[in-house]
């Protein structure tokens, strides 16, 4: 049964591409659009954009526009609160995923605007999820209460909604909605890969802290030492978990590319050696240095804009699986003034 529904839904979605995916608001205010995403604050505009009901998303308005409503029918949520979104057949493989968005519930203790009615017919915001059959692993996390739940009352969590399928190749998440714990139906649990994506999203990489010698102005023909403060160079990790499953993403700095502002650049495979106290100013850095050939006179502010860009590899592991994410980068910029050296450092 599930499989057959999946095929039907997939076909429907494919058709929709050509006809009816008008939903995604493209303008900068798109996700704040009260007609699509009722938010706390939307009551201010009441009357300008009549909406059914107040403080209640149960009519489907809370979800991204709902092309499936033109074809109501077969896909009812079953009695067990199972994994099919009710009455929404055209939206193949849609579901809520727990979000790593962190923020208080909307409206503090009264998440009324996001209240999901317990049982109210076909198209509700029941936190259900339809998983395609080809991802059997995602169904394995039969755990009641994931530990992302916010500590403060009311207990619940932020979820993001997304539809994927043949017709939604570039599926996009919709803004997080707060769903209180204890709603009917199973809470959708993320797969290891989804957990990994959340963990990656939680990585907070430090910006490079640039240091150089000479500490002030650089001099033409005098070696410049380049290094990054060690506080901005090292593994960074983040973990996302539900009970029994934990996935960790690790970002590791692998190189730093210095764009020196005079057209030259240098890539170093480490943070670079700090200039030793009492070192010879004319010595060159053993691992990360540069020597300017021209002064920065005549440049904007008489200085070269220097940017250090750190390349990070990102891997994840957990639940017996692992993988690699695309590299990430961080960067920081400073300005180096480079003076002609005659008469200054001739000794």
């Amino acid at each position: 049964m599930l499989k057959r529904l999946g095929v039907v839904a997939g076909l429907s979605a494919a058709v929709l591409v050509a006809t009816a995916v008008p939903a995604f608001a493209d303008g900068g205010w798109g996700f704040t659009d009260c007609s699509q995403y009722p938010n706390p604050g939307c009551e201010l505009g009441a009357g300008k954009n009549p909406r059914p009901g107040t403080g209640n998303q149960g009519d489907g308005n809370g979800k991204p526009s709902n092309p499936g409503q033109t074809n109501p029918g077969t896909g009812q949520a079953n009695a067990n609160g199972d994994t099919i979104i009710g009455g929404n057949n055209n939206l193949a493989q849609c579901g809520y995923e727990r979000s790593d968005y962190q923020g208080p519930p909307p409206g503090g203790a009264q998440p009324a605007a996001f209240h999901v009615p317990p049982k109210s017919g076909a198209v509700t915001a029941v936190p259900a999820v339809y998983r395609p059959q080809r991802e059997p692993a995602t169904a394995q996390f039969a755990v009641a209460q994931p530990r992302f739940a916010q500590a403060q009352p009311p207990s619940g969590a932020w979820y993001v909604y997304k539809c994927t399928g043949p017709g939604f190749a570039d599926a996009l998440y919709r803004p997080p909605v707060w769903i209180a714990d204890g709603q009917p139906g199973p809470v959708p649990l993320p797969s290891p890969a989804e957990l990994a994506a959340q963990a990656r999203n939680q990585l907070r990489l430090p910006a490079p802290k640039i240091a150089a010698n000479p500490a002030g102005d650089q001099l033409v023909s005098l070696p410049t030492w380049l290094w990054l403060d060690r506080s901005s160079w090292g593994d960074v990790s983040a973990t996302a978990s539900v009970p029994g499953v934990s996935v960790t993403a690790v970002a590791r700095p692998t190189s730093v590319t210095w764009s020196m502002g005079d057209g030259g650049s240098v890539t170093c495979t480490g943070p670079g050696s700090p200039f030793p106290a009492g070192g010879d100013p004319k010595s060159a850095s053993p691992d990360c240095g540069y020597t300017y050939k021209t002064s920065s006179a005549g440049q904007r502010a008489d200085a070269f804009p220097v940017t250090a860009t750190v390349n990070w590899t990102v891997t994840w592991s957990g639940a017996g699986q692992g993988g690699t994410f695309p590299n990430m980068t961080t960067s920081a910029s400073v300005a180096f003034r480079v003076a002609e050296s005659q008469g200054i450092a001739t000794g």
Binding site: W29, S35, N39, P40, G41, A46, K48, L172
Partner: protein, 118 residues
């Protein structure tokens, strides 16, 4: 928001200088979602805000602002391409600005209506 939207920096501390409470939450969640989707916003909205109400009149603590904003020149991009071909447009906007305890004024709530609502 336009500035933070360029980079998807949904945690930008700049935002909290201008908005608080529900308004900040809505903005954060909007930007968070763009960030999650790898979407950035380019351009700027056109706004022409007007004060519609001041309370109390003699020593204001709440100012209501209405606007007909236009986000057709402030669009979302992913991988350098427009997210879709649905343009923005003119939207009726209502905002509540309240004087904070520290004397600053911040947007506390706002409502943005559908394209074509003004």
């Amino acid at each position: 928001m336009a500035k933070a939207g360029e980079t998807g920096d949904w945690q930008s501390p700049e935002l909290a200088k201008y908005a608080t409470g529900d308004a900040l939450g809505v903005i954060n969640r909007s930007l968070y979602t763009d960030h999650l989707n790898g979407v950035v916003t380019k351009g700027e909205p056109k706004t022409n805000p007007e004060v519609s109400k001041v309370e109390p009149p003699d020593n204001p603590t709440t100012v209501m602002i209405s606007d007909c904003g236009d986000d057709s020149g402030w669009l979302k991009y992913k991988n350098g391409q427009l997210v879709n071909d649905t343009p923005g447009g003119r939207r009726s906007i209502t905002a509540e600005v309240k004087k904070q305890q520290d004397g600053t004024w911040r947007v506390t709530r706002f409502a943005v209506e559908a394209v074509g609502s003004c």
